[in-house]
Symmetry: D2
Subunit: 387 residues, 4 copies
């Protein structure tokens, strides 16, 4: 009976994620799921009163509730019991500056996507991360779903033959009207170029579709050709994107991303076709993966079910038929980050982080947005990523 | 108790559709479904022996089994009991010449799609049809499905608000390998430029997706931007097409059409989104139509079920829950053609044929193929239809 | 090039099936689908005027429009061009008497289910059919679906191991209110003991579920235990049935049949489980069959797709992904009957009719209804079929 | 900006749930999800070494790792920082004795189902719980799913009219072979009468189906009529159960529960039909609820989507389209228990616990198993629950 003492919880801070925020709460649950983190500090808001209120909600003591991320980074770095990692869940335009403050102090960063609001910021942040001893993880959370891992492994194992097509789509409907004019916070910053950057829908969710396409297929993008639109009157950023893709090596793809498609809640869907088979996965029914080998009956693979590979089982918690969801997939990134952080603490730098979305993945995402906007403005030219 | 005598069956001939053909048998069943036609003559093959054999199979007397469509047109036009209508189910490149022979003799034409293999032929055929007293129907059969009619009516009634997006796809997998090199007849002519024309996959099924998009949405295409591929080595025509669409009035769309996507049998699917709602229909489950009004629960409309409109009920035969399929949808075109033909016989030229795919629709389809090929060859330029 | 002359169409008569009837029209389309029959006579109604009106609708000449099935049988039997087969689509209580008139004159009978309204009538009809040279076919049409045939074959081939469970259900909702009091004809006779017999819902659709269970599983019923209900006030016959089943050899099953389950249109569904695998089929999506071998990924078999057996392909008309439906499945019975009739004409009595629902199947169905009613009245005793 | 300090985490112990156990890990994640508990003690195994090993895995200090639940109850009750609540995740036969030890010391109990392995034990435990000041919660976790709460609320609000039918099923396949003979722990105790009690499948999962039926419908059972089977040779307890139900007031129902139905992972499914509408929910796709009002289009309600009621939204964490799963539903019970416990701490005994499965619900479940076994042994008699 081997005795392996569970490592102590990693001391975690958070920037952003105060009351009314959506993604902050997700990060907190994800950090708790497998019991690897303890939230002990936060700059939940730039208003002291609001940050304090959130701290009270969350059981964070008031001496560690900050209204400035810089102050937080400075103070926590000085404490013996200071945070070891920080979750960044602010609007996009702050990601770079916040991450930099922590990275330069050796505090690990778990940052929401997209990486930054500008390509320039993204490139700077890549350098900063490379110079830091700390880990940088970008929460492209959809890569954490077990059946996404299964798909990636099957493709890598050659079960689809040579990949020919990658069809991705990510339709939503919550911005079908000018919600941003009603004071809704989530809509407000996402449709504001100052806080979101060049891309609206394409930055918010198109980057997920792009990231997932490459994560699963193992392909690298060569170029894209885009047609972006803003359908809701008065909106400043795109709310619908049509993109054709050319991957290196000859595969092709499409991405449709939209926030104005009524009836679609969070419809991320990926289909990959190779010379000998196909795969299909839908985020809204994430425990299933269709595998369609050419000339054989269609097969519905289930999480933890027959045919599930280690790649999927390693990130599953419960048996087949007991559905896992969005929070579990998200938590898989936090848990992998915890393993990497603990490995470093133990002097083991070799922990494999290849499945964790990196700062380079983040740069690719921002470059994707930038190229799509450029292509669309130029009348749908083929553009390569500037990375 | 009104006594309305059922009209006599329309005497029907067929060109093409001999043994081993697929679509000829479909046309024959479709013509019988509602008892409006009697097949009495055919040039089922250009080989006399084969045409005779097919005639025997089909109960057509040998004196009316022809090996030349011209001979058939001439002979039948002279008979007192000659055919009143002809079904054309040959490879694409013959459609124009065959149709012309019958149209100029006042024999009604029911022709498979695409209209012709070249834009030039298509334009000539349009003129020929306009000069003829006979009816010309193109069997874009997917327009005959009840729930497609429902969708068209709902959009026309404004239930989706202003249309913003039309997403169409038509993936198949049967040409994932070089089936044409095995002697398979269906694959042979569809991948042969001499018989199919400029387009492979895009002509065979992409035209259906395009036709359905405009039929349902009521929109007119402004221009398209395409990226066509041939993935199977040695193949001469495209087997995969990615297309972005701009409709007049500002709506946008995409078409993905493929014959190399393993796991897809006949995956025609249409989604339309407007400012206040969405619709989704899949050909493989044709008795259902998703209607997703913005801000309300999703609704699954069923053929003949609650919420079905006259537009759908008029072309349904049996109650809800008793699935109708491809043949019934196809038959709806034949039956509508019969009504139009009988109306003309009775001197009533006013029979509404607006729901029947016309020669102009056929021209649009060929122009669509031509524009897509041109755009793709030019590196994905935006091209308008030459119609 | 073999020349096999298509046999002449079989001359068909119909009893019942006048205006407003549902199932008569279904039989007529089914008879035309594969071009084996010609409707030439009918007693479409017991009112001469109505029968004549239907004859006009259907292109039947008025000299062969009868208002008495006895007169029709007599007259047609005397004509040189008299009918060779008759379709019986009256309410249940007339099936026996009508069938007898034709059977005793050697005219083949294609009769709607259930066989009769009483067990006594059923037994008499079995004798009558056995004494007749004519064929008797009961249209348990759901056995005609290709994927039902596939399921039967797979079980017969041992792909499920030893059968343990047969779960059948057949919910509808159209009698959730007292529709019969509104003058609706279909509801009227189905809820009337004088015309339907002992069973309401259980006779109308429960018999289909029972028939399908044994057809697919190959099992024979040992006994049943039932609890029938009438939920709609004022109704005389059951509108909901719960039944537990014991098959010979130890397998068990359940049947739920209901006409008061809102949201269910025609929800016939069958699941069979053996020691090594399971199957699931739904009538409303009939082109699919789930096959779930124990310990392997679930497989979705499709009509004409990979994995489809001859048993299914033999009764399919068009390729995978082109959905067939209720009418095609129904037509498969008519076509098999035509083959048997033509074989007899040619002196070949050996034509295999084992897949055609027989008069014995009909007797089993009526015995099933009788046993269920008895069990329920006795407080859910286990009852065997009196056959 | 209101400041409400988050209550301190409730100190939690666990009995059972060592290495290789399934449900213990589920309880632990559920307790952490919303940050209301801290696991500080455990009798994870009756072997000291194993209990210690589990403690190490879980970060529980060794002084609070017990090998006897009695010792644990005694020791913890004496500590100033002793546990406030205990999770019981042992095999069924221990539930009663373990719960009693903690209840009598005023320690709140969160106990897995079924309540006990015998009806006698269950009745004793009810008394014990009634005499205790502590809370008793039975983890019928499926009641915690948001769309289950939605269904319950809709029925309670009268949206289905008068309830007529409750159809429940719970098929699995993991015991299709004699897994218990391979040494698999989960199979071992579940098929052992000494540890599970009278019921096998019916106790393990049939009780869930029964509990869910009454929770959602609001109905009370009058009597049941059962046919239980053991299909796997050598097995001592039932592995398949067919049950007909009569509810007080005239509604009827069925339950099918099985662990030998290949292809079914965890197929709990509930359908309820009333005079004016129906509902359908499947555990494996828990974020959806079909609502089918009679005479209107079918509606697919989604968690947090349009049409979601407070009853569902109150127990949802993230937006529509971001799937929640089994763990979140389970956690909803833990969180509600925490609210109740904290309310009691604050002297507020009025916290509404009506949605939390109670010891009485547990008694009903054991009585259900007992009645089903009795009915089946007596040849399917109608039996009432002995409660």
């Amino acid at each position: 009976m081997a005795l392996t003492q569970k490592p102590a919880r990693i001391r975690l801070g958070m920037v952003g994620g105060g009351r009314d925020a959506f993604i902050g709460a997700v990060h907190r649950i994800a950090s708790r799921m497998d019991d690897h983190y303890e939230l002990v500090a936060g700059a939940f808001s730039s208003t002291a009163e609001k940050s304090n209120a959130s701290a009270s909600d969350l059981g964070v003591t008031h001496d560690r509730a900050y209204s400035s991320f810089t102050a937080m980074a400075e103070a926590e770095a000085l404490r013996a019991d200071g945070i070891e990692a920080v979750s960044i869940v602010t609007p996009n335009h702050l990601h770079g500056a916040v991450a930099t403050e922590f990275l330069k102090r050796g505090i690990h960063v778990i940052c929401d996507k997209p990486l930054t609001s500008t390509l320039d910021d993204a490139k700077k942040l890549v350098k900063q991360a490379q110079q830091s001893s700390a880990l940088f993880v970008l929460t492209h959370n959809y890569t954490g779903y077990p059946m996404v891992r299964q798909a990636r492994q099957m493709i890598s194992d050659g079960q689809l033959g040579e990949i020919r097509l990658v069809q991705a789509e990510y339709p939503q409907d919550w911005l079908s009207t000018n919600l941003e004019d009603t004071g809704q916070k989530q809509a407000g910053w996402r449709t504001d170029p100052a806080r979101s950057g060049l891309g609206g829908c394409i930055g918010d969710i198109g980057t997920h579709a792009f990231n997932l396409s490459t994560f699963v297929s193992g392909l690298e993008l060569d170029s894209l050709c885009a047609d972006l639109d803003t359908f809701v009157p008065g909106r400043q950023l795109d709310d619908n994107a049509h993109i054709m893709l050319r991957y290196k090596g000859g595969a092709k793809g499409m991405i449709w991303s939209s926030q104005i498609a009524p009836g679609n809640e969070n419809g991320l869907r990926l289909r990959v076709y190779g010379s000998t088979g196909g795969l299909e996965w839908k985020q809204e029914d994430p425990n299933y993966l269709w595998f369609t080998p050419l000339g054989e009956p269609k097969r519905l693979l289930t999480r933890s079910g027959s045919g599930a590979l280690d790649a999927a089982n390693d990130v599953s918690r419960i048996p087949a038929g007991h559905p896992e969801g969005y929070l579990e997939g998200f938590a898989n990134l936090y848990t992998a980050a915890a393993h990497a952080i603990n490995a470093r603490k133990n002097g083991n730098e070799k922990e494999d982080t290849s499945l964790l979305p990196s700062v380079q993945d983040g740069l690719a995402g921002v470059a994707f947005v930038t190229a799509a906007v450029k292509s669309s403005e130029n009348g749908s030219t083929w553009e390569q990523l500037d990375i």
